[in-house]
């Protein structure tokens, strides 16, 4: 519980510092897609590099991150591929993910982001609770 809160505070601090120093929104889906499209790589690529570097540092310092194994069943693999396709399509259509709409949008009191967060939280909970278990038992 404390680790979750501490991690959240670091994420909030990062989002604040991004906007305070560069005027940029720390929305990871948008940063990633724009970097791949070739836009503003001067700050987007360093941010993404830092993102992975920070995770590596945390794991090196003893933070627990179990191996996310490749599923052994074809159903499990399909779940990951379909999940990936939907996350990519959805975050691009909706212009944001957990960081852009969630952390930054809610903190900016954006009604648009509040709607997005309500919808993706509801969809995520319904899918994980009702649908996922039907598709793949025990994954």
């Amino acid at each position: 519980m404390l680790a979750a809160l501490a991690g959240g505070i670091l994420i909030g601090l990062s989002a604040f510092l991004m906007y305070a120093s560069l005027g940029k929104i720390a929305g990871i889906s948008g940063i990633t897609y724009a970097a791949l499209d070739g836009g503003g790589r001067g700050w987007r690529l360093p941010f993404l590099l830092g993102l992975v570097g920070g995770a590596w540092l945390a794991v090196s310092a003893g933070a627990r991150l179990p191996v996310a194994a490749m599923p052994s069943s074809s159903a499990g693999i399909a779940l990951i591929v379909v999940g990936g396709l939907l996350v990519g399509l959805g975050t691009r259509l909706g212009n944001g993910c957990t960081s852009g709409h969630g952390v930054c949008g809610l903190s900016r009191l954006s009604p648009r982001s509040a709607v997005a967060v309500a919808v993706f939280m509801l969809a995520g909970v319904l899918t994980a609770t009702l649908l996922r278990g039907l598709l793949v038992a025990g994954v």
Binding site: M1, G8, A15, G23, G30, G50, L51, G88, V115, L135
Partner: protein
Amino acid sequence: MKPALAAIVCGLLFGIGLTVSGMADPMVVLGFLRLAPGWNPALMLVMGGAVAVALPGFAWLKHRRQPWLGGSFAQPPSTRIDGRLVVGAALFGIGWGLAGFCPGPAIVSFGLLQPAALLFLPAMLLGAGLARLWPASAAVGPRGDTAESGAAGDIA
């Protein structure tokens, strides 16, 4: 140079936060999204902690005319609540609930060579590419909005 340095520091903080909080582990995420015995509410504290810091921070910055390193503050490309937003958020939520990865943890896990993420991230980027095929005005409401898709990187 300074913007790159600031961005890398912000990235580091974000990456440490994602990992320490448990958010980078899809099993923890699914344990939160699945309302069942053994439900793990901890991830509410991740979002809560982040907003508790960022909300007063953003409010304080409202009085500033420029970011510390110059330039201008990014404005959301759209403030409209339309079909495109709702459909997008719903598809994202479904994908998140299926795989347990959202974009940040997917990139972090890919970078750390987590096997499941090596599969997930390419699929995610392919899905993002497919969004281009989605006509800006079709099936998402009465008004088209090409500016929104064009400026996707500015807000999120």
